[in-house]
Amino acid sequence: MNLASRDIRHSFGRFVLTTIGLGLLLMLVMGMGGIYQGMIQEATLLVDRIDADLWVVQKDTRGPFAEVSRVPANLENRVRAVPGVLSSGGFVSTIIQREWNGRPLRFTLQGLAWPEDRGQWLPIVAGRILGRAHYEMIADESLKLPIGEKVRLGKNTYTVIGHTRAMTSTAGDPMAFFTLHDAQAIQFDRSGEAIRLERSARYNRAERIDLGRTVPQMIERGLGPSSGIPALGPPDVSAVLVTLRPGADLIQVRSVIAQWPDVSVYSSDDQRQLLVAGMVDKARRQIGLFRILLIIISGIIMALILYTLTLDKLHDIAMLKLMGARNGVILGLILQQALLLGGLGYLVAYCIGLWVFPLFPRAVIIIPEDLWLLGGVVAGISILASLLGIVKALNVEPSEVLS
């Protein structure tokens, strides 16, 4: 006869409420782990998805995820000439926050190296990938921009033609994808007045130098668009992404590019490590400490619950001893209840978590390793928490029945 289950059956309501309470507490512990895993996934999502072999960034910087990196857009041509390189493309990424239909629209703008990259690697859940060189955008569904919606950014209007799912930046903002040129246009957009002032200043500077006076066409050019001035390069990109030919030696290609004095080069793994170590490390430690605190609190609460449950049964335990019950029967009663409470609490935490975690604004990802670890911890704290009750129970004298 299982005494633990009989006792639970007898005070079922109390047991259920206790289990739910403990389950909610464990859900917080589980959620903390999920938030951490979500942060890592969000931080490395883009690097993983893009899956470039090499990242070429501004010299002595750690790349666009760590700090500001600017390299000329035409660097991709130079990279493409390196033996072993299959393709290269500019990488532009910046955060945009605008007002749209009365609500803030914040996203990370991402440039795709059109026409090679049209977003075919993106997890498209509705619509299509980019089909034109300009004025199209793929938005993450969490931005809540319907397909066909027109969004004005800078001087141009872009049409939403596809939706991705769970594409968020390292900061947790949803992403929107444009062709690289559109992305640069949005990133470096300036007002008409600013452009006019810039041209005027350029004209005045050209007028003041001898060359300007002797070559009047130069002054005329100064009044024109920047793209018409050969001395001015196109807008910068944050990095150049490199894909190698099959069988190419990554170390060799990397060493060639690394010799160039104006750039630094990293592998995808390096970028991933930089992201995890740089952006997530403090958050990981913070969440880790918070998890430990929550586990300790859960343990204390469980111990109190089990101790109280044992106190309620002290008289019955004394009677069991008087009847000659072995210690194993009494230990079983307390320990089985503790493990059942912990196990069901864990199940409640998991089930409620499955329902609640997707409602969180940032990704909460529960991985099997975390579940196993937490399961072990719950079993451990169940046993430890029951010790207090067990010690009390084992010290009860059978004569207490008579008192």
Partner: protein, 244 residues
């Protein structure tokens, strides 16, 4: 020692039991050199005012307390001698002793039948056998219909019957009852006492009942009185029981 006892038919033989609490100025002698034998199938009563030492004697015989002096033999096995217990107390209790108290002390989260079964399962009875015997005992004691009820749904008399069934479950040599009718009305009280007599005779167990209830003394084979820790046969019952 009479013939029946010397033939090995004793449920209990207790010799020179003494229990002293405290020491020096605070010393209290709760039991003085008490000697008592109970045959199988015999029911005896222990009478006496509160504080006389009745419950102390019962708990010593029940191996709940240990005496300072004396010797205890239960069912032919010497369990206490020369200041020490000679058996595994819990194992011995579950196999050879049954207890009934003023309150039934049933496990509240078990049904009547489960309370009886538990006593047997603790004693390694197979579950199926325990289930059958529990029902038999409850039927025998007139509470078979209430077998599936929790103690909270039973009357005081019914609870006490279930407690008796539990005490009988392992066919003990000796049943110790401490004021089992104190919480019952006179009719119910007498019924329970007669039940003990029936149990003693039919189950061949020795039964010792501590009671204040003088109305049901005719139920007992022998009666003893205790006062200031001294045990003696009750004269007014004109019995020839062994009491030293």
């Amino acid at each position: 020692m009479n013939d029946a006892l010397s033939n090995g038919k004793t449920a209990l033989e207790a010799y020179g039991l003494t229990k002293i609490y405290g020491a020096g100025h605070t010393e209290v002698v709760a039991l003085r050199d008490a000697t008592l034998t109970v045959a199988r199938g015999e029911i005896v009563a222990l009478l006496g005012p509160s504080g006389a030492g009745k419950s102390t004697l019962l708990t010593i015989i029940g191996l709940i307390l240990t005496p300072n002096e004396g010797r205890i033999i239960i069912g032919g096995t010497t369990v206490f001698d020369i200041h020490r217990l000679l058996v595994n107390v819990r194992r011995f209790r579950r196999k050879h002793l049954g207890f009934v108290f003023q309150k039934a002390h049933l496990i509240p989260f078990l049904t009547a039948a489960e309370n009886v079964r538990l006593a047997m399962e603790i004693n390694d009875f197979p579950s199926r056998t325990a289930k059958l015997r529990a029902m038999e005992l409850l039927e025998y004691l007139g509470v078979g219909e209430r077998a599936d009820n929790l103690p909270s749904k039973l009357s005081g008399g019914e609870q006490q019957r279930v407690a008796v069934a539990r005490a009988l479950a392992n066919r003990p040599n000796l049943i110790l009852a401490d004021e089992p009718t104190a919480a019952l009305d006179s009719v119910r009280g007498r019924q329970v006492m007669e039940l003990f007599r029936q149990v003693a005779h039919e189950q061949n167990a020795g039964v010792i009942v501590v009671t204040h209830d003088h109305r049901a003394l005719d139920v007992f084979d022998r009666t003893f009185e205790m006062e200031d820790g001294v045990l003696r046969a009750a004269d007014h019952m004109k019995q020839e029981g062994i009491a030293h």
